[in-house]
Amino acid sequence: MPISFEKAENTREAERAYHQIAVERMRPISRKYDDHEHDLPVEWIDWFWREGRKGAGRADGEGDGFVQVCIQAEELCWGDAALYLRMPTPALGGSAVAAAGTNEQKERFLAPFRGDGHAIWGAMAITEPNAGSDAAAIETTARLEGDEWVLNGTKIFCTAGQGASEVPGGFVVVWATVDKSAGRAGIKSFVVPAGTPGMTLVGLEKKLGIRASDTATLRFENCRVPRDHLLGSEKVKKADPSQTGDKGFKGAMATFDASRPIVAAMAVGVGRAALDFVTEELAREGVRLRFDAPPRELTAMERDLIDMTAELQAARLLTWRAARLLNRMKPNNLEASMAKAKAGLAVTRITQKAVALLGPAGYSKKLLLEKWMRDAKINDIYEGTQQINQLIVARRILGYSSSALR
């Protein structure tokens, strides 16, 4: 396969369309929903459900496929990352269903998102007070009683968890153990429809950034779902599930291989928002990037901008590489974690540097720059922290199992 960085024509069209949405629909309400953290951004949600969800381009595998999904994420997060996370879509819950569900389950749970009713959300609930990236430490239990699974436990940091748990038609994919003694192999995921008795929204986080995104704590108390709401196989295989083809834990983890490039692309979008802005502001002050100046003549600001530009592009290209592997149905676990680790850290640094470069103006809420710095930081944390992704990369490059390198 030749080395090419060419974008398909329909990708370029989609890019332009998403950029316009970012400029016209997202930026004007960015400040409002950052200031009013838990208010529902109704104008955005209504517009997205009415118009936006039709999509500006195609994400059906034609053209650039998954790369186009990344470009959509980048453009819309250039607009506003929190509003992107607030879009009424199946989101990570949908990714989980797509990764581990049967065709029938995919149709059943995802079709309403194409329907005519009101706006609905999907979400995925993994993290617990005592289990973050160490998903095998999950304490939420699922017990089979007759033809129903009974869920008990508490989930935190569930993105879009308010919409997905409360608005009828949506769902939360909940990770729970069916056999604590089985460790990883006992972890399964369950689709819990919004409004299911026993699932309660306990609270919403107040956060550093991405404030327009609802980050929920959900409690499950004898929450019952039909037996066929389990994604993947019911069987607990105590042997290494990666060897046995069990889609339970493996399927759940596969969600990350698909979601990490998207998160990396989201990060790149926020980083680009800050870099574009600061580059334009400094250009107005006479600071221009020269690529033909001798080192002694480059100012500190030019050096910073060159470094930020290169870092952002490296993160973007790593992201697209991970996405292209998905297009070709190739394993991308290593590449997805590389992209996520690089992008999360790069945009954290880029946005923080951007605030510093503009001085008091950068620090002021008159501009959105300070918001982008706060928004950017989450990319170094969720979907696996920087350190968890370093760990995954390290295991891959060293050929170590998760027990050899902890």
Binding site: P295, T309, Q313, A314, L318, R321, L391, L398, Y400
Partner: protein, 321 residues
């Protein structure tokens, strides 16, 4: 070894068919070749690729007569080194605005100035020199034996397997036909973009070599009953190296891809090179650190990688794609 490598046609393949070359010029292919050779050894890689320092600018900018005279010799089966003199020994050398001057005197050019870090392998009698002429940077073909040109072998911290020279030009008189490209001249920006892509690619290769020896050593070296690679302090360092190397390589490929599409790509080439300058040094330094005291000894390669990596701070167009 240079002869054996030359037989692979690594440079000749990129020269025009009309002059005996393979007619398959590709910056992407050039970047792949440069990375792989530098993965073996940076200095030897630059020696192997040195014919391109003269042949590729002549192919790109030369007049018909210059191409006819100079290109066939680089398309034969025996190795001939090229030489390209851009960098100057004074503080703050600027490849776009050389202090070396070419003054027009009647039907001749008179060259005055100094150059350094010029690859200086035996086996050819010409070199290309950048000089400011009528306010713009141009390239001139200079016989190595020209009167007024003196060469002194350099001793550098790294690149020990690549002979380099510091050159002095004191009133070197050249015929009018020595100006590369004749009236049209040469495009230094295009040349430097190609140099930055090539050097950045070698930096990726060097970094990959340093990373791999560090990785392998970390899996063997035991402390407190386990390989040091099982400690996060080492594992995460290796992980960062791998990520940065892959990111830098993609920047290099993107710049090369743009060159192949006919874009000037100086911006992308410079971004990639700036990134590689940092990463090659960080990875080489990290490799020395992973080896600990052994990394400081000449028994292992990381100290060599570190000495070579530091050179990118001043290297310019030591290879071309």
């Amino acid at each position: 070894m240079l002869e054996q490598a030359h037989e692979l046609g690594l440079v000749a393949n990129a020269l025009p068919e009309a002059f005996g070359g393979g007619g398959e010029r590709s910056a992407i292919a050039g970047a792949l070749i440069a990375e792989e050779l530098a993965y073996g050894d940076l200095a030897i890689a630059l020696a192997i690729l040195s014919p391109g320092l003269l042949a590729l600018p002549v192919a790109d900018f030369g007049t018909d007569a210059q191409r006819k005279e100079l290109l066939p010799r680089f398309a034969t089966s025996s190795f001939r080194p090229g030489a390209l003199a851009l960098t100057e020994p004074h503080f703050g050398s600027d490849p776009f605005r050389p202090r070396t001057t070419a003054r027009r005197e009647g039907g001749e050019y008179v060259l005055d100035g100094a150059k350094c870090q010029v690859p200086w392998l035996d086996g050819d009698d010409m070199l290309l020199v950048s000089a400011t002429e009528a306010g713009a940077a141009q390239l001139f073909l200079v016989p190595r034996a020209a009167t007024g040109l003196s060469a002194e072998r350099e001793r550098n911290m790294g690149l020990l397997a690549l002979p380099t020279a510091e050159l002095r030009f004191a009133g070197v008189r050249l015929p009018a036909s020595a100006r590369l490209g004749g009236e049209a001249g040469a495009d230094l920006r295009a040349l430097l973009a190609r140099g930055r892509v090539a050097l950045a690619a070698t930096g990726v290769g060097l970094a990959r070599a340093a990373f791999e020896v560090a990785r392998d050593y970390a899996k063997e070296r035991q402390t407190f009953g386990a390989p040091i690679a099982t400690r996060q302090a080492i594992a995460f360092k290796l992980s960062d190296m791998a990520i940065e190397i892959d990111g830098a390589r993609l920047l290099v490929w993107e710049a090369a891809w743009r060159l192949d599409r006919g874009e000037s790509a100086l911006r992308e080439a410079t971004l990639a090179y700036e990134q590689v300058k940092r990463i090659a040094l960080e990875v080489a330094d990290g490799a020395v650190q992973v080896f600990g005291g052994h990394g400081y000894t000449r028994e292992y390669l990381p100290e060599l990688h570190l000495r070579n990596a530091r050179g990118y701070a001043s290297f310019e167009a030591l290879a071309l794609v």
